[in-house]
């Protein structure tokens, strides 16, 4: 933005610096990369990945909604509303971050 100011040099125009835009990053994995990503974490994408952290149901590639690290292991989340709400609560409490 250009602002005319009471600059010591008559007629000078001062450029008002805009603060750099901040960015919030959201980490995600796309379906196209999911198999490779799961393999890179040392898991077998063909079988059950583990149990849902919140409801205990088996999580496979078909019903994986999110994953995060906690206490040295990988936690999986299925897409049930109670389980998504569980992740949201951990985020609110600052236990995990986006």
């Amino acid at each position: 933005m250009v602002k005319v100011s009471s600059h010591p040099y008559p007629g000078a125009v001062e450029i008002e610096r805009q603060p750099a835009r901040e960015t919030t990053k959201v980490k995600a994995v796309h379906d196209n990369d999911l198999v490779a990503y799961i393999r890179s974490l040392g898991l077998d994408p063909e079988s059950t990945l583990g149990r849902c952290k919140f409801c205990g149901a088996d999580v496979t590639l078909d019903n994986l909604a999110a994953l995060f690290p906690q206490s040295g292991s990988i936690k999986f989340v299925c897409p049930r509303r109670e389980c998504l709400a569980g992740v949201q609560e951990l985020i609110r409490e600052g236990v995990v971050r986006l």
Partner: protein, 382 residues
């Protein structure tokens, strides 16, 4: 295409390079819109190139979340909006990096299931960014309701099909299981639609609360103060024009007031003194935010601005926001009227900090309402 003519005219005047530069500037100033264009372009490309699918998903999610961030900043008077960027997890990420990074990885489906992507990403994003610190002071139900309402608002405005999915899979079943949560959401909708107060007042006050409170999270008094703010805004949403009601939240931690300026007689005389005197009393009683509210019509709007200017000059308070917004006015005869209001937000420069337990915080004295001031005969009713 409606913009086609304009584009051709611009190309005629500016040339192709000029148009590209113009589009670049527009895109820089409206990042959410630019990303929507990106989403559309990549969704077409994805039909012939599979890598385009990932880009379409990315731009689609980013555009909605960036729009929400900008809207939130505007409505709550925050200085700058934050852009949102999807950071793809690397397919070769090592377990060590995954643990060290310590972040949630959201699974985003192919573009054909973009509604689900938008719903999941919005739920997590809002939990992380919307008054996160303040939500730790609220009851779990209060915190959950704030998140759900905000996500609903985000998706309803930017992706109606994703909003439908949210209602069907999350909000509906959750409200069926917890009626009190449902009641909170109905209240937020009422304060949002009728007086536009959910983000500009409720969320703003939670932001202020988060910036200063140092007592233990979920303290009963804090929860109670937020409930009082909520009750106040619901009562205010239902206010009938001309009805006298308390317009202050006088909690232990949360003290704010609304001052309605719609007095024909006082305005006609140009008499700002009683209003400024009342503002002075609110300030003395340690209110930290005062919301001046009234018709945005020229005469009333100018009168409000003069009152705000007088008070700011003598008190050292700051005008932190000024905006026009649509409201629904309820009349005594039962009819409703759509109107345009002006909101001026004044903030004290001496906000209190709290250290220690809630019981140790002294409750300041109450202030007589503006109605009581009027009863003294200083102001004539409308």
């Amino acid at each position: 295409m409606p913009g086609e003519g304009l584009l051709i005219a611009l190309m005629g005047v500016l040339g192709t390079g000029g148009v590209l530069a113009f589009l670049f500037v527009v895109a820089y100033l409206n990042p959410d819109q630019a990303q929507r264009w990106g989403e559309m372009i990549w969704s077409v490309i994805s039909r012939v190139y599979s890598g385009g699918n990932r880009k379409a998903v990315q731009y689609g999610v980013q555009s909605r979340l960036t729009y929400f961030a900008a809207d939130l900043a505007k409505e709550t008077g925050r200085p700058g909006a934050t852009d949102v960027k999807i950071e793809w997890a690397q397919p070769e990420e090592t377990p060590n990096h995954f643990y060290k990074d310590n972040r949630v990885v959201i699974r985003l489906h192919a573009y054909e299931r973009q509604d689900r992507n938008l719903m999941t990403a919005s739920l997590f994003y809002v939990s992380d960014t919307l008054v996160r610190r303040a939500k730790r002071y609220l009851s779990k139900r209060q915190a959950r309701s704030v998140d759900l309402y905000a996500v609903d608002r985000l998706l309803t405005k930017t992706a109606p099909a994703a909003a439908d999915l949210l209602h069907e899979e999350i909000v509906g079943p959750e409200c069926d299981a917890d009626h009190e949560l449902g009641d909170l959401l109905v209240d937020y909708q009422r304060m949002d639609r009728q007086i536009n107060a959910f983000f500009p007042i409720f969320i703003r006050e939670l932001n202020y609360l988060a910036q200063k409170v140092v007592v233990k999270p979920r303290d009963e008094q804090l929860v109670s103060d937020v409930k009082e703010l909520h009750r106040f805004l619901v009562r205010y949403s239902d206010r009938v024009v001309g009805e006298e009601m308390p317009l202050q939240v006088q909690g232990r931690f949360l003290r704010c007031a609304v001052m309605i300026i719609a007095r024909f007689y006082g305005r006609e005389r140009g008499d700002r003194v009683p209003y400024v005197r009342h503002l002075r009393e609110l300030s003395r009683a340690m209110h930290e935010t005062i919301y001046l509210v009234g018709s945005a019509a020229r005469e009333n709007g100018e009168f409000m601005q003069e009152i705000a200017r007088d008070f700011v000059q003598e008190s050292g308070w700051t005008e932190v926001d000024r905006r026009e917004y649509p409201v629904i006015l309820h009349h005594k005869d039962g009819t409703d009227e759509k109107a345009l209001n002006l909101l001026i937000v004044l903030r004290s420069n001496q906000s209190r900090d709290y250290v220690g337990e809630a019981e140790e915080v002294e409750v300041p004295e109450d202030v007589p309402t503006l109605a009581a001031v009027e009863a003294e005969g200083t102001l004539a009713p409308r």
